[in-house]
Amino acid sequence: MKMIFNKFRVFVAALVLAGCMVSCDWLQTYPEGETLLEDFWKSESDVESMVAACYRSMLESSFMSSVIQWGELRSDNVMSDGTKASTDQKDIQEMNILPSNGLADWSTFYVTINYCNTVLHYAPGVCDIDKNFSESRMKALCAEVLAIRALCYLYLVRTFGDVPLQLEPTIDDSKGFDIAKTPGSTVLDSMIVSLKEAKAYAQSSFGSSNYRYNKGRFTQQSIRTLLADIYLWQGYYAECEAECNEFININDALADPTQKQSSGSSSSLYYQLVDADYMLSEVFYSGNSSESIFELQFNRDQVANKAVTSLYGDTKTLGQMYVNTTDLSMHFGMSDVRYTYFVGSTGTDEPQAEKYVASSFYLSPQTGNYSFNRVTSPIYTDWIFYRLPEVYLMKAEAIVEQSGDEDMTRFEQAMKCINVSYLRSNPHADSLRARSYPSKSQMRELVLDERQREFMFEGKRWFDIIRQARKDGNTNTVMQYFSKYSSLGQNKLKDINALYMPISKSEMESNQLMEQNPFYRTDETVTAN
C-alpha cells in the first residue's frame, strides 16, 4: 500500500516539476504555411523571391486599374459608360471628385513601395549569410527594386502632386505611422538619385534566350527610359535628351541588319518597331514584342489582367470606358491607321478601345469597316509601361522644350524623332516637316498630339495633359482637351490643382499629418464637431 502512495508522490512531484519546467519556449507557436522573418532573408533565393513579389504586387488588379485609370479616365481619350461605370468613375467624369472616391486610394502603390523598401533594407545583410551571394548580384537585384519603387512614385506624384516619401520599410509597430507629404519634385529628385545608382548596377540583359525576363524585369535600358520619363516630368530636359540619346546609341549599336525582325517575340536585346499592321496582335495582345521596353508579365491561366477586362471589356461585355470619338478623331489625319486599328467602332454599341483586349482585326467585306476579334476573359495580356516610340517622343519633347521659339534646326531634330512613330502608322504619307510647325507652341502641340495618337488607351494621356499644364503654369492651353466636361466641370478645371486627385478620405482620417490637396480643401472648411 505504501508503494502506491509513493507512486502518487512521485507523480505529483513530476506534475509540479513539469509545471515549473514548462518555460517560455512552450508558449511559442508557429503558423503553418508562412515563413517567419527570423527564418527569411537567409539566401539569395529569398532575396530573389522577394524581388519577384515587388513585381507580382503590381499585377494586382487594384494596382493595374489605378495605373490605367489615373492616366486615362479623365482624359479626352475616353468616356465613362453610363451603365457599366461605377459611381466613382462617373463622379470623376463629372468632375465631382470627393476624397471618398475609391480612385483616390493609393494604398496598393505603397504596398509595392513597402516591399521594395523591405528588399533594400534586408538584401545587403544576406550577402554576409549566403556566401555564394555576391555583392554585385545583390546590387543588380536591388537595382530592379529601386526602379520599381521609382515607377510607383512617378505614378503617385503625377496623380496626387505631393505624396509621403517612404524610403524605409515598415516591419513592426515600434514607430508612429503618421507622415507628412513631401513635395512631388523632391520625391522625384530622390528617385533620380536612386535610378542613377540602379542604372549603374542593373543587368543589361537576363540572357538573350530569356525574353520574358528581358521585357518583364528592369534592365539598364528600361531603367534609362524610366529615368528619362522622370527627367521630363521634372523639366530636366537636357538630362532627358541625354538619356534618350544614350538609349538610342546603345540600341543602334546592337542593330544587326542581317537579322531584320518583323514579327514574333523578340529575344534580341535590339529594340525595333513592329509593323503597324501587326501592332494590335503582336505588341498589345501577344506581348513582349521587339519594340517593348518594359511590360508587366501576366501569366496565362494564373494571373489575369482583370483591370483591362473590366475597363476595356472582352468578347461578351463592353468596357467601363469607351472611346470619346468626338474628341479623339480630330487628332488623326486621313492616312493614319492607328484610329482604325485601335478603335472598334462597328455596331450600335459605344466605340471601344481595342488595345490589349482584341487579338486581331479584319476588314469586313460587307461594311468596309474593321471588325475586331476580342478575347474571351480572363484576359492575360501584359501591360506595357514603355515601348520604343516613347524614347523618341520623350526626346522630341525634351528638344522642343529646350529650343528657342523658332529654332528650326532643333525642330528638325525633334521632327526626326516624331516621324519614327508617325511614319510607321502613316505608311503612305510624307514625313512631317518642321516648316509646317514653325513655332515652339505648334511643335509642343504636335508632340502632344503624336503622343496621344501613339499611346492612346495606354494610361499616359492625362499625365501628358498635366505635364503640359505644368509647363504653362495654368490650364489655358490644355483647356481645349476638356470639351467632354460640362461647363461646370470645365470651370473647375481652370484651377491647375484640379488636375490632381484628392487625398483619400481614409488616409485623411488615419494620418494626422496629412493635408488635403489644395483644390479639395474647400470641403474641409466645415469640420465635423
Binding site: M1, V22, Q28, T29, P31, F40, S49, I171, E507
Partner: protein
C-alpha cells in the same frame, strides 16, 4: 501540446504500473471463517466480506455461502476484514496472524439521541469550497431549481433577468440563436464582451475564427451555451468582480459564469424522465399595406418628385390586363404570414443516476426538436452526459465526465422576415397563369423589369425557405478525467491537503453547408449567386491539464482558518477550417460543392494557441468574521510576443461579518447578518488572433514570370498587450430574521485601459492600411446592483409566497482615446437618408445615437404672413420668426446647402430642427439622441405555493435604452419599392394636412434622415413566464413505484409592456454600434407542457 500528452501518458502509465505491482504483493495467506447472527446464532447468508487497507480502500471481497462460511485470500495481514450485512451492525476485524476469523454480527438497533448538526453551507467560487457566508467577492449563485418547469433550449434564456449585473439580450427568436450576455457592461470596443463560461471548473470556449468581427457581427455565431442541455445543470454562479475572476487571468475581464452540472448521488438507482412540449407563436409585427394600398402609394411616390405622369407609369402598378405579368401583380399577399408558422417543440430527457459508497454515477440523454416560427428553421439537439465517480478509498477518488452534443440547426438562407416586410404585396407567391390560376412554381420578378433593383433582386422568401438551404451541424465532445488525492489522513488530523488533477479534452467540429438554387431567384443561370453551393468545416481540439493543490488548515485554535490553493493549468488548442464554394452547378438536383463547377471560394486556415496559468489563492478567516482573500494569477498566452507574454493578475478582497460581533447580540434576532465587503482586482483580455507578434512571409498564389514570389503579409505587433481591466467593488450583505429576507447591494467601478482596437486604419503609406490590433485609450463602467430575496413573505397554513427582486445599473463612459482613433471612428457625415452618425466621444458612452431632431411635416409650401405659425419650409430665427431678406422675402429651408446634393424642402417634406438657425439642415444640426444601453435592468419573480401546487411568475425588464427602429424606418420611408406599413396611409397629401408622416417620394428628397423619428425608448417589462406546477404526493405515487410525478404548464413571454412600437424591444448591441432593430425574428410566445417522472 507535446507536454500535455506527455503528462497524460505519465498519468496513465502511473496507473497501469501501480496495479500489477500491487498484485505481486499477494501471498498465499487465506482467511476463512463463519458469520453468524449474535442474537440467535444462525449463519448469515450473503454477508459481504471485504478486506480493507488502512485508508479504507477495498483490496479483496467475497460473500458468505448458505452456511455462512467464507474463504478469502488476503493481501496483507495488516489490513482489516469488514463484515457488512443489511440490518446488522458493520464489524471490522484486524487480520493480524489470525487465519480463521469467525464473527457474530449484532442486529442494528435504532437508538436516536438528540444530535446537533452545525453545517455551514459551502460554496465553490472556482477556487475551492468556502463557507457561503464567508464570501467576500461579488458573486451570485442560482440553482436551476429556481426556474424548474420552464422550457428553454439554452440556459442563458432562463438566466435572463435573474442575476443583478448580468444583462442578457436575446439576439433573435430563431431556434439556435444565441443570447448576448454582458456582466457589468461592455468592456471592449472591438473584442467580445461575452463572459467566460466555465463548466465544472473547465473553461468552455469556442475557438472563434480570427476574422470574426464582434463589433458588427450578428451574434448568432457564439451561441455556445446551446451545446449544454439545461437539464444537466445544477447551479450557476456568476463571478462579477475582478477579485473573483482574477484567477482566470487574461480571460476574466468580462466576468465568469461557473456552471456546475448534476452529479450522481449515493442511493438507490433513480430514473428520471422529463417531457416537454411547446407551442411557439410569433407575435404579430407591423401591419403592412395590402397590394391595393401599396400600388396607390407607389404611383404617388413616383409622381411627386417630378410631378410627371409618365414617371408613375410603371406597368407593375397599373393593373393593366394587357401587361403579360398582370395576374402576378394584382394580388394582396401578406408575406409575413406566408413565412410564419406555429412552431412546435418537443424535448425529452432521460436520466439514470445512483450509486453506492464507492461508485456514484449519473448518465443523461436528451433530445430536443424545435421548429421555428419562421418556415424552414429548426433545431435538433441530441445531448449526452455521463459522470462516474469512483472512491477508491477515503483518500483517492477518480472521476470521469463525458459529454457529447450533436446539434443540427437548419437556418434561413436569407433573413426571411425582413425580406417579407419589404416584399411588394401585390405580387404573388406562386406564378399565376393568364387566368389567374396558381401554378406550382415560385414567382420571381422578371429580370427585365424596370422596378428598382432593391425590389427586383429581392428574392421570394417562400421560395428561399423551401428551396435554398443553410444547414449547420456541430458535434462537441468533452471528456474529463479527474483524480483527487488526499495527502493527509483525515482520521489523524483536521487539516487537509488535496490534490485535484484533471486532464480534459474538448473536441469540437462544425459544418455549414448552404445551397442556393436558381429556382429561388430571378438571376440568370450563369450568375455566380445561383446554383451556388458552399460548404465549410471547422474542427478544433483543445487539451487542458490542470493540477490544483488545496490546503485547508486544521489549527487547534479555531479562530484561524485558512484555505489555500496553488494551481497550474496548461491549455493547448488547435483549430482548422476549410471552406469551398462552387457556383454554376448543372442543376438544382446537384447540390454538392465538390462537383466540377466554377469554384469561387476556396479557403483553409489553421491556428494553434496555448496558454499557461499559474495561480495561487488564499482565503483566511479570523474568528469566522474577519475575512481576507487573495488571488494571484500569472498567465501566459501565445497571442503575445515575448515582451508581454506573461501578465500578473492580482485580486484582493475582504469582508467583515459585523453581525457576529458580540455588540450585535441585541439585534441579531432581527438582523441576522450584516456583512460589508470590498474587493479589488485586475483582469485582462487577449486579442482573438494568433501569430500577431511575428513578421510573417507568405508565398503569392502565383509568382512573377517563373519566379516564386514571397512577400511580408503583416506588420509585426511586438508591443501589443492585454486589454487591462481593474475593478473596485464595494458590497453589503444583509439578512433578516435568520435569513428569511436577504438583501445584497454592490457598487462597482471598472476601468479598462489599453483597449484593443481591431483593424485600426493607419497611414497607408506605411504599406499597410490597417493595424490588425492596437492598444489605445480607456473606458470605464460603473454601476450598482441590488438583489432582494424574500422567503415566506406570506405564510398562511399551506399557502406561501416567496419573492425575489433584482436591479442593476451600469454606466459606460469612454475616458480616453487618441486623436487618430477618434478620427477613424468618427467618420464625416455622409448626407444620406437613413444613416445615423456613429461616433465615439470622450465622456460619452458607447452605443450613443446621434441624429437630427424631427419636428413633423411642413404643412404648407409658402410662408403666409397672416399665419406666421403655420409650418412651411423657410429659415427661422431662434424665436421662430421667419428670417426675411432686404426685399422682405423669406429664405427657403435647405438640406446641405452649398453641397452638390443640396435640396430645397417643399410642403409635405419632413421637418427637422434647424438647431443653429442657419437655414440649412446639415451636420451642424445633429444632436445626441440617446443611448442603446439601459439605465436599469433586472427582473423579479413571485412564487405562490399551496401544498403540492405552485405558481411561479417571473418578469424581466430593461429601462432607459434607446433603439433605432430600423424596421419601422424601412416601412415608413416611402422611398423605394419596398412595402410600407399601414402608418403611411396617414401621409401628407395636400397643403394644410397636419400629419407626422411626410409625403411619398420615390428615390427623392430627404424625408428619412437619421433622426429621433425612429429612435424609440425601448424600455420594457416582460412577463417572462407563468408556470403552474403540481406534484402528486409521494404516498399516492408509491403503489405505482414512482418517486416523482410533476406536471408543469408554463406560459412563456406572456406579455410585454412597452411603449416601443416595434415587434420586440429586446435588441442587442455589439461593441460600440447602436442598437438597431432590423425586424429580426421576435421572441415567440410559448405554451409549454412539461411532465417529470421519477422511478
Amino acid at each position: 501540446m507535446k507536454n500535455i500528452i506527455r503528462i497524460a501518458c505519465f498519468l496513465a502509465l502511473t496507473m497501469v504500473v501501480a496495479m500489477p505491482s500491487e498484485a505481486q504483493q499477494q501471498n498465499s495467506n487465506i482467511v476463512r471463517g463463519t458469520v453468524i447472527a449474535a442474537t440467535d446464532g444462525e449463519p448469515l447468508i450473503s454477508v459481504s466480506v471485504t478486506e480493507i487497507d488502512p485508508s479504507n480502500r477495498i483490496v479483496g471481497v467475497t460473500i458468505t455461502n448458505y452456511d455462512g462460511e467464507y474463504v478469502l485470500q488476503i493481501s496483507s495481514p495488516g489490513n482489516k476484514l469488514r463484515f457488512k450485512y443489511l440490518g446488522f451492525e458493520t464489524k471490522d476485524v484486524e487480520i493480524g496472524n489470525k487465519r480463521v476469523i469467525n464473527v457474530s454480527l449484532d442486529e442494528q438497533t435504532v437508538n436516536l439521541t438528540e444530535a446537533t448538526v452545525t453545517a455551514r453551507a459551502m460554496q465553490s467560487d472556482g477556487r475551492f469550497n468556502i463557507p457561503q457566508r464567508e464570501v467576500s467577492t461579488a458573486m451570485q449563485k442560482i440553482s436551476t431549481e429556481e426556474f424548474d418547469g420552464i422550457q428553454v433550449s439554452s440556459i442563458d434564456d432562463a438566466l435572463q433577468g435573474r442575476i443583478a449585473g448580468l444583462d442578457i439580450v436575446n439576439v433573435s427568436g430563431e431556434p439556435g440563436a444565441g443570447m448576448s450576455m454582458r456582466i457589468r457592461g461592455t468592456t471592449s470596443i472591438n473584442g467580445s464582451s461575452e463572459p467566460l463560461i466555465v463548466i465544472d471548473d473547465i473553461p468552455y470556449e469556442t475557438e472563434i475564427a480570427d476574422d470574426f468581427d464582434f463589433a458588427t457581427a450578428n451574434q448568432d455565431a457564439y451561441a455556445q451555451l446551446i451545446n449544454v442541455n439545461p437539464d444537466d445543470i445544477e447551479s450557476i454562479t456568476v463571478l462579477k468582480d475582478a477579485a473573483s475572476t482574477a484567477m482566470y487571468g487574461a480571460k476574466g475581464a468580462s466576468g465568469v459564469l461557473l456552471i456546475t452540472t448534476k452529479k450522481g448521488k449515493a442511493g438507490p438507482t433513480r430514473i428520471d424522465y422529463a417531457l416537454g412540449v411547446t407551442g411557439n407563436k410569433q407575435p404579430k409585427g407591423m401591419n403592412m399595406l395590402n397590394g391595393d394600398d401599396y400600388t396607390m402609394l407607389m404611383k404617388q411616390s413616383y409622381y411627386l418628385p417630378h410631378l410627371d405622369e409618365t414617371a408613375s407609369n410603371v406597368q407593375e402598378f397599373n393593373y393593366d390586363t394587357n401587361f403579360t405579368e398582370y395576374e402576378n401583380f394584382n394580388n394582396n399577399t401578406d408575406w409575413r404570414e406566408e413565412v410564419s408558422q406555429i412552431g412546435i417543440s418537443q424535448d425529452h430527457t432521460l436520466t439514470v443516476s445512483g450509486g453506492g459508497d464507492k461508485v456514484t454515477f449519473r448518465v443523461s440523454g436528451g433530445y430536443t426538436h424545435e421548429s421555428g416560427t419562421c418556415i424552414g428553421q429548426a433545431l435538433k439537439r441530441l445531448s449526452m452526459r455521463a459522470n462516474v465517480t469512483y472512491r477508491v478509498s477515503d483518500r483517492i477518488t477518480f472521476s470521469s465526465d463525458f459529454s457529447y452534443t450533436y446539434s443540427d440547426n437548419p437556418k434561413s438562407y436569407e433573413d426571411l422576415l425582413s425580406n417579407a416586410y419589404k416584399k411588394m404585396p401585390n405580387l404573388t407567391v406562386y406564378s399565376q397563369d393568364v387566368f389567374g390560376n396558381e401554378t406550382d412554381s415560385y414567382y420571381h420578378i422578371r429580370e427585365d423589369s424596370k422596378l428598382n433593383d432593391s425590389q427586383k433582386k429581392l428574392s421570394n422568401p417562400v421560395a428561399v425557405a423551401d428551396l435554398a438551404r443553410n444547414y449547420n451541424y456541430s458535434y462537441r465532445t468533452s471528456p474529463v478525467f479527474t483524480l483527487i488525492y488526499e495527502f493527509l489522513d483525515r482520521s489523524k488530523t483536521a487539516a487537509s491537503l488535496k490534490l485535484n488533477a484533471n486532464v480534459s479534452f474538448d473536441i469540437n467540429s462544425s459544418q455549414k453547408s448552404t445551397y442556393f438554387p436558381r429556382e429561388a431567384s430571378n438571376a440568370s443561370w450563369s450568375a455566380s449567386t445561383v446554383n451556388l453551393s458552399e460548404r465549410s468545416e471547422s474542427e478544433s481540439m483543445g487539451v487542458r491539464g490542470d493540477v490544483k493543490l488545496v490546503w485547508a488548515s486544521g489549527f487547534a485554535n479555531d479562530n484561524h482558518r485558512v484555505t489555500a490553493m496553488a494551481r497550474f493549468t496548461i491549455n493547448g488548442s488547435t483549430s482548422e477550417q476549410l471552406g469551398m464554394g462552387v457556383y454554376g452547378l448543372p442543376s438544382s438536383q446537384i447540390t454538392s460543392s465538390s462537383v466540377n463547377a466554377y469554384v469561387n471560394k476556396l479557403s483553409s486556415g489553421y491556428s494553434e494557441s496555448k496558454s499557461i496559468n499559474y495561480s495561487a489563492s488564499a482565503h483566511y478567516a479570523y474568528a469566522g468574521r474577519y475575512i481576507f482573500d487573495l488571488t494571484l494569477a500569472y498567465a501566459g498566452s501565445t497571442k503575445f510576443g515575448p515582451n508581454y507574454r506573461f501578465g500578473l493578475f492580482p485580486g484582493i478582497s475582504a469582508s467583515w461579518i459585523i453581525s457576529d460581533e458580540t455588540f450585535f447580540d441585541p439585534i441579531r434576532n432581527v438582523v441576522s447578518m450584516l456583512k460589508p465587503r470590498v474587493s479589488w482586482g485586475l483582469t485582462g483580455k487577449e486579442p482573438s488572433e494568433n501569430y500577431l507578434y511575428y513578421s510573417r512571409y507568405a508565398q503569392y498564389d502565383y509568382g512573377y514570370i517563373d519566379m516564386i514570389a514571397i512577400h511580408p503579409v503583416n506588420m509585426q505587433l511586438s508591443n501589443l498587450k492585454w486589454e487591462n481591466t481593474t475593478q473596485l467593488n464595494g458590497g453589503l450583505d444583509l439578512e433578516f430574521f435568520d435569513g428569511k429576507y436577504s438583501l445584497s447591494f454592490d457598487y462597482y467601478y471598472k476601468n479598462t485601459t489599453d483597449l484593443l482596437f481591431k483593424n485600426l486604419g493607419i497611414s497607408s503609406s506605411s504599406g499597410f492600411s490597417a493595424l490588425t490590433n492596437r492598444n489605445n485609450g480607456a473606458m470605464s463602467n460603473r454601476g450598482w446592483e441590488l438583489n432582494i430575496h424574500l422567503n415566506e413573505l406570506v405564510k398562511v397554513n399551506k399557502f406561501r409566497i416567496d419573492a425575489n427582486f433584482n436591479f442593476s445599473n451600469n454606466k459606460n463612459q469612454i475616458d480616453e482615446l487618441s486623436e487618430d482613433v477618434l478620427a477613424r471612428y468618427n467618420p464625416e457625415y455622409d448626407y444620406a437618408n437613413g444613416t445615423y452618425l456613429t461616433r465615439i466621444q470622450i465622456g460619452n458612452s458607447v452605443g450613443s445615437i446621434y441624429g437630427f431632431k424631427y419636428l413633423g411635416v411642413y404643412e404648407y409650401g409658402e410662408y403666409d404672413p397672416e399665419h406666421p405659425d403655420r409650418t412651411c419650409p423657410i429659415a427661422r430665427d431662434a424665436n421662430g420668426n421667419a428670417i426675411l431678406d432686404a426685399n422682405g422675402k423669406t429664405k427657403p429651408m435647405y438640406f446641405a446647402y452649398g453641397k452638390s446634393n443640396a435640396y430645397e424642402f417643399k410642403a409635405g417634406d419632413a421637418m427637422y430642427e434647424d438647431i443653429n438657425h442657419d437655414g440649412t439642415i446639415d451636420e451642424l444640426d445633429i444632436v445626441y439622441l440617446g443611448n442603446s444601453l439601459p439605465k436599469v435592468n433586472g427582473g423579479f419573480g413571485i412564487t405562490f405555493r399551496y401544498g403540492q401546487f405552485s405558481l411561479q411568475t417571473f418578469f424581466n425588464y430593461r429601462v432607459g435604452n434607446k433603439v433605432v427602429n430600423g424596421a419601422r424606418m424601412n416601412a415608413e420611408n416611402m422611398y423605394t419599392n419596398d412595402n410600407q406599413s399601414v402608418a403611411v396611409n396617414w401621409r401628407w397629401r395636400k397643403e394644410g394636412d397636419q400629419t407626422e408622416m411626410p409625403r411619398a417620394l420615390y428615390n427623392y428628397g430627404y424625408n428619412w434622415l437619421g433622426s429621433d423619428r425612429y429612435v424609440e425608448d425601448a424600455s420594457f417589462l416582460r412577463f417572462k413566464y407563468l408556470t403552474f406546477n403540481y406534484s402528486i404526493p409521494r404516498d399516492i405515487l408509491k403503489p405505482a413505484h414512482l418517486s416523482q410525478c410533476s406536471f408543469y404548464l408554463s406560459f412563456q413571454n406572456v406579455a410585454t409592456f412597452t411603449s416601443y412600437t416595434g415587434v420586440d424591444p429586446e435588441v442587442s448591441t455589439g461593441g460600440y454600434s447602436v442598437a438597431t432593430d432590423n425586424a429580426k425574428t421576435p421572441r415567440a410566445k410559448q405554451v409549454v407542457f412539461r411532465l417529470r417522472l421519477g422511478f
